[in-house]
Symmetry: C2
Subunit: 343 residues, 2 copies
């Protein structure tokens, strides 16, 4: 049995939608036990509205809530018994195997980093999102934990993304690309030029710089970027299909033949929306912390919450962090923490 | 008559496509005179393949070419008579009114900054692209000239974008948004927090932070960002429609009814492609330099080149730089170059 703590109060639609998603996960995945963390009364009220059929859900009380707009570090200091704080404590005490939250991302990153600590050799954690492309899933890291990574930190993200792609997506030798403003080695900031050099010398399957246009096409399995550009791009991706559909619908309504055409195309359009919907991927692991923490979108639907919990279970099953520790110890020079060169 | 120097050797498909675009512009816009700059033989050979009907095209010899992948500053030093260098010289000597190039962006920015200098009060130039959204054109600045702008430089970009939106797009009181990873004032890097404060205190119509998802929706008229994220996002935008169309086509081919549907939708789809095509916008001015310099996409088609030349003409007609100088002198405190607070 895998036990997963779910931050019942985290996210724009908490606790309603989070509880609904947790119930779906409990019912669909018999090997998971959900520990719903938050204000007992509110969680019980929501739980009573659903039928928990096969699975198991228990409640763990946490009286305080960190709101979405709060400054992470000061909120964590002020609210010692927040739902995210209690989740991380349960994980630290090994009372659960993983944590899933759709709440304040900064607070989740700070609580994880401070209380769980980092995996041996890792300098900063990064959020690794799975994004749908023309050629299947790509992983992008970091998408919001580290706005100004160093070249070494970017390399560590590449190592972790490689392990993630191999363990979870069963990719044989994942390709790695550095998000930049041009393909040439001389492009971008000093940090990116240095990261390019380190990645080229590593044993990873580094194919060089990629550009914004390569994001959707699935040119590489692992997209390495700083958390600022990663976050902006991720939020763009989410809006792209919606915007395209809005544009297309507006245009199609202009004449009767295309209205008929649109009706005939609807099943295909729905299938694309499903294929490219973030709800399917569900959640993004915070890689590099000493524990499995899954961060989900603040606007997550119940289905997205269910899938994020599923992802948490898969990562626990695959023992991802052990593989990351192995890869880092093989590829990072222990004397000075630098990336070991390709022999 | 407005005279525009066109870098005949700049861009992935130069000189063929550039010359073709220049001929289209000369034929379509009788008030423009085109000075094609580059290797005379090559340009003449291309010119001979087209009919110049109404307009006027002359050739100015420049023996050297800066390639797309070259390091800008060292290339400019080494090649004193490059086509982009000669273009900028012509502008400096007032022999032309504007320059248009689809060549090495870094070289165009460096040559303009070094040889033309900056407008009074401006600290760094920025590239202002016009991007199609759900609600018309938005302007995004910077998209590649300045990878690490200061808070003050971001504010100056906002002032210049405001002037551009008013002069060229006739927007009454353009809204301004700062591209960030969250809407709250506390979000993002230290530079962005400082820029937020300066913009809020300015007399611009600043509506706060915007996120990646707001890029396509046209939430604001002017999107202010650093050149790195701007460039990545811009290149994503270009690929979005292509990717969406590829996804949709693949899906639609799966059954006969949707094939029929797709046929009926085709005119609407074509219209969207046109509406969102970068070729229509054509070129992006490098704002802040002492002269009109239009930068076009390296992959520009003849039509995109034609439209970039048209944009150059419009900006000259509107006397944009005089308006920018006025705005900067009104809004920037001359004693310390800081943004003047809203009275």
């Amino acid at each position: 049995m895998i036990r997963i703590a779910v931050d019942g109060m985290g996210g724009h639609y908490a606790p309603q939608v989070v509880v609904e998603g947790a119930v779906q996960a409990a019912n669909d995945f018999a090997h998971l036990e959900i520990v719903l963390v938050g204000q007992t009364d509110a969680l019980k009220r929501e739980l009573n509205r659903h039928k928990v059929l096969g699975g198991k859900i228990v409640i763990e009380h946490a009286p305080e809530v960190i709101e979405m707009g709060e400054s992470p570090v000061s909120a964590l200091k002020k609210k010692k018994s927040s739902s995210i704080g209690v989740c991380i404590d349960l994980l630290k005490q090994s009372k659960v195997d993983a944590v899933m939250t759709a709440g304040n991302t900064g607070a989740a990153v700070a609580a994880s980093t401070i209380h769980l600590g980092l995996l041996k050799g890792i300098k900063r954690p990064g959020i690794a999102i799975s994004t749908p492309t023309l050629h299947g899933i790509s992983i992008a890291i970091d998408v919001g934990a580290n706005l100004n990574p160093s070249a070494e930190e970017l390399c560590q993200y590449a190592i972790m993304a490689d392990v993630y792609a191999r363990s979870i997506y069963k990719k044989k030798r994942p390709s790695v690309g550095l998000l930049n403003i041009g393909e040439e080695e001389c492009k971008g900031t000093e940090v990116l030029k240095e990261a390019y050099k380190l990645l080229r010398e590593s044993s990873l399957n580094f194919i060089g710089n990629i550009e914004g246009r390569d994001f959707f096409t699935g040119k590489v399995d692992c997209i390495i970027c700083d958390g600022f550009v990663g976050n902006v791009v991720l939020k763009m991706c989410e809006s792209v299909i919606e915007t395209a559909v809005a544009l297309i619908s507006r245009e199609l309504k202009k004449n009767p033949l295309s209205i008929l055409g649109a009706t005939l195309c609807k099943p295909a359009m729905d299938s694309i929306r499903k294929e490219t919907n973030y709800e399917e991927a569900g959640g993004a692991p915070l890689l590099g912390v000493n524990g499995i923490v899954i961060i989900s979108h603040g606007m997550s639907s119940a289905k997205a919450i269910r899938n994020a919990i599923r992802v948490a279970g898969e990562i626990v099953s695959q023992d991802l962090n052990t593989h990351i520790i192995d890869a880092i110890s093989t590829m990072i020079n222990p004397t000075n923490n630098s990336v070991r060169k390709n022999p």
